[in-house]
Symmetry: C2
Subunit: 604 residues, 2 copies
């Protein structure tokens, strides 16, 4: 199957059960690449008016990039997009595994779903053949059971499945979509939107292998980049050996490992929960890679209790561990499994429980509120397990936790204990120790997030060069470039982890090599900038203002109490105006007309 | 199948694969009743010389009582007897469930096993038909898998299975025998002896219903006692609602709830782990009873992780909880499940880990000894789970834990941290708060044990009358009577829990009603005394002296540091001489010749 510059969209209306196909103009592909970019474009055409994220009118888009399903290293990614029930802004969640590549092999680039089924259904795609089928028997079951059952009942042994668990069905605001059992389109509640549509799963089975028009030349480009990845210490060895959990000790020693709901940046039990401990305790059985991935960072694990699964990764292990003060690596890993089974975002789950623990500590959640459940105290492995289940099933106080930490803390009259940006829980780096990351958090188009501009790379890891993490000068430019390049990588269908070893020129070579588009480096980066600005415009259409380009009060005003970052706060005010200016936005953070015109999105 | 006063023994020699039957003289039945008594008698005839408990020469006896398999309330018990690899003394472990009753229905009262199979085998008994079959495929598998597989491969849907798990195979000194998946002949390492014989399991399927010679009259006696049990607050309601875990709060409030290896008698987190919490947290799904049991104290539970099983009971929950300082009821319950699957005695397992935690605290076990495992600190749910598995599989430091706390602490040069009597770990009552229980522990014929004379009943619960727990005067007499009556109940084949509601006269009525023996009350109690003295003589034959009729130094010399029992120690020296005297033993605790003659066991 050769590359087409016309993105092939499969439209599914769950209300009418109408299924149609369309192709987007070649211009869309050229301007937005595909994946995240094309998905955002599609979202902007579908979401003209104000829409409740959990209503039938919210579209749910599964978008592959041009490189998805190809031989490009890590070329197996897809994005799930919609309006987020957690943030009310753009939800745009990336996932690996095999599902995206298989979807591409059916000959579809993007699935766009609107409406709501009258009863639970799943979507079965076998190349051109598309069917909506009854899923009543799967409602209430976990993601692993659903995945196995669907493959069996369809007799499609090699099919790939993306589905929701009970958390998505129950519309927990941070429910995720799970594909291939262990991979998640994790953040912003895309699983809740899927649940609101009564759509339990999508099963794909394809026979079409995507190829470049000059496949031979493309393979040469690919081989050279695979070698770069294999030769780099991070992507060649580090991530295989310890996974992303190689970071636990590094970030803790940097003093930016958020502990007990960001009360401090040093976790005293990191040695019990770090990536090295996962190996030494024998829980790690092997590593595993997604489609076409030479890095293979996934953790295949087994616990002394007999439980088996994948993970935890760095973010999940942190959110369920240091963030809640839990130092029991068995409990952390078990809850990671539970989140995969229920379909819960581990970061928002862990940090919402951490927020609840602080509210309990401060007397704002009372023992009576727990209705017989374990004391909600920092460090309690039992509370972590118990309230994760309650959240997924909206049982007891879980119905309040299921709203996310922002709504929970507001309801308790103490919004300051919600460690969120724009309503989405922050990830595993305390920005008081990494100023640029603070700016990246504050300006992320999907709220608290580490994969929209990973400043940890230069500020802590020294990739591609070492920056002073406490400097604010110059960080705006770094953030802008990282945000734009990230948008390109997400839109191509590749994994961000390639960027430890690959530079913009490598992505350019791969992208041009496959599509034949012949972008210049500037043109490619401008695609990223275009996508970023379109996301920003969409968010503003949803009512967002620059007021929300900020961080939790704690990070701006409470000096870090101990460790290497003692005394530091985030000096956001020193970076934000420069960032707006570099972006070509007004002092109020609104993209200027000229900027939109330059990017060719002033009409959208 | 009418009652026969000739106990029917099935002899199995695993070395020669010879299987024979014999009947014991009616006198044995009259003097020793059956069950524990007859098993001990048989043991004394088989164990003339010094024998390594893990050698082929150690017999392993499964003994039902005359009431086992009948309609008598709780009439489903059997005993597993041998020389203990943990204590070097008599092992005599009682279990409920269905196995004992089913064994009786095959027409066999006692199975006596000697020798060692050349490869793993199991014993299949279908009424008269007895077979030794290959069990190689089951070696290394857990007790539940073994149970299910055997029933399936034999096609014996309603068969009952007693088996060992990996802990028994590995000859962990406190491995147990598990029957009906969740019931255990728990203490003194009877599972290790089964493992040493390469005997994986016994499967029984019987068709013979045991009946009294005057069954109608017997049923009247039974019905009246069932009513007594149903009408009593403990056996009628308390044990059904909360199981034995009704005791957590009672014993903690009494200040005798041994915490962190008996360092104190008050556990600050009892409210998180007690029987009430098991209900309120929703882990308890229902209660369940053993064969013919109107009490139904077993806990059918399910955890938020999805794990299911039975328990924990009071002793198990304490040993895995307060004793180790762990307050995570999920972890405690999960480890209880693991102990059932691996075939580990929960009390010795928990208290051996607790001992190791204290040795770690004192620097006598070092971080390096843990070989990458979690820090062995009090309160660590992860350490509890991790080292339970290591113990069962003899991995890492687990090979040292598998020897039990006495050998572990001795090896570390600090035997004082082993909370054992005669090498067996103590149960869940700190005798500094219950003097009579202290005497009962010190004189128990199988070492640290609460089911050889449960003085908690009068000293704390006020059953049958309330005694001052700190008084020492008169306790010797209570201990003697309780020990003797317990021996009778164990030998009949009934559950000790009946004694909350039934008195000696009730047992007499049941026993006489079924056997037609027409004992007087004194004669029946003398049977108990006879059994007790025979056990004592056997222990002395194994080298035991009165030196070991004592308690851990901590309980004799360290005053309780806090709580209602603050300042107390066990004043054993005030009770032991009186006890010896009442028993008709010398000042050195040796049964006098006249005593043995009076009991008719001077020739044994």
């Amino acid at each position: 199957m050769g590359f087409s510059d016309k993105i092939r969209v499969l439209n599914v209306n769950l209300s009418t059960r109408e299924i149609t196909r369309e192709e987007l103009d070649a211009e869309v592909s050229k301007k937005f690449i595909g994946g995240r970019g094309a998905g955002t474009y599609l979202l902007s055409t579908l979401l003209k008016d104000d829409v409740d994220p959990l209503s039938p009118n919210n579209p749910l888009i599964f978008a592959t990039g041009p490189l998805t399903g190809t031989a490009a290293p890590t070329g197996g990614r897809y994005m799930a997009l919609c309006k987020s029930p957690l943030t009310g802004l753009v939800a745009s969640s990336n996932s690996g595994g095999q599902f995206g590549a298989e979807l591409k092999r059916t000959g579809t680039d993007i699935i766009s779903i609107v409406g709501k089924a009258s009863a639970p259904v799943y979507l079965a795609i076998d190349d051109e053949k598309v069917e909506l089928r009854d899923a009543s028997h799967l409602w209430g079951t976990d993601t692993h059971f659903t995945t196995e059952t669907l493959k069996q009942e369809l007799g499609w042994e090699k099919a790939k499945v993306a589905c929701i668990g009970p958390a998505g069905e129950n519309m927990v605001r941070f429910a995720c979509i799970i594909n291939d059992k262990h991979r998640a389109a994790g953040r912003s509640g895309v699983g809740a939107v899927m649940g609101s549509k009564n759509l339990k799963a999508i099963v794909v089975k394809g026979s079409k292998r995507p190829e470049a028009n000059d496949q031979e030349r493309f393979m040469e480009i690919v081989k050279a980049r695979v070698k770069l990845l294999q030769d780099h210490p991070v992507t060649g060895q580090g991530l295989a050996a310890l996974g992303t959990k190689v970071l636990d000790n590094i970030i803790n020693e940097h003093g930016a490992y958020p502990t007990r709901n960001f009360q401090t940046g040093v976790f005293e039990s990191t040695d019990e929960v770090c990536g090295e401990a996962l190996v030494e305790k024998g829980y790690l059985k092997k590593n595993r890679g997604c489609y076409a991935c030479p890095i293979k960072c996934a953790r295949v694990t087994e616990l002394p209790t007999g439980s088996k699964g994948e993970g935890p990764e760095y973010e999940s292990g942190w959110a369920l561990g240091a963030a809640t003060g839990v130092k029991d690596l068995i409990a952390i890993t078990e809850v990671n499994y539970m989140c995969n089974l229920y379909g819960l975002d581990t970061i928002s789950c862990g940090l919402t429980i951490a927020c609840a623990m602080e509210l309990y500590e401060k007397g704002l959640i009372k023992k009576d509120d727990l209705k017989g459940g374990p004391a909600m105290v920092f460090g309690s492995s039992e509370a972590l397990i118990y309230y994760t289940k309650q959240t997924a099933l909206k049982q007891g106080i879980g119905s309040r936790l299921a709203e996310g930490s922002m709504r929970l803390a507001q309801e308790c009259g103490a919004p300051e204990y919600s460690m969120t940006v724009k309503g989405q829980e922050l990830p595993a780096y305390d920005p008081r120790g990494v100023q640029g990351q603070g700016l990246s958090y504050a300006t992320s188009n999907r709220g608290g997030c580490h994969v929209r501009g990973y400043l940890i790379a230069p500020e802590v890891l020294g990739i591609p060069e070492k920056l002073d993490p406490q400097a604010t000068q110059g960080k705006a430019q770094w953030v802008k470039v990282f945000q734009d390049l990230t948008a390109v990588i997400d839109s191509m269908g590749l994994c961000l982890f390639t960027s430890f070893a690959l530079g913009a020129e490598d992505y350019l070579a791969i992208l041009n090599g496959f599509t034949g588009f012949d972008y210049s480096l500037d043109e490619m980066m401008e695609c990223g900038e275009r996508i970023w600005n379109l996301e920003r415009m969409l968010n503003m259409r949803f009512g967002m203002t620059s007021q929300s380009d900020t961080l939790p009060e704690r990070l701006l005003k409470e000096p870090m109490p101990e460790g290497p970052q003692k005394g530091n706060t985030v000096r956001l005010e020193q970076m934000l105006p420069e960032y707006y200016s570099l972006r070509g936005w007004s002092e109020d953070g609104v993209p200027q007309k000229e900027t939109l015109q330059r990017l060719g999105i002033d009409g959208l």
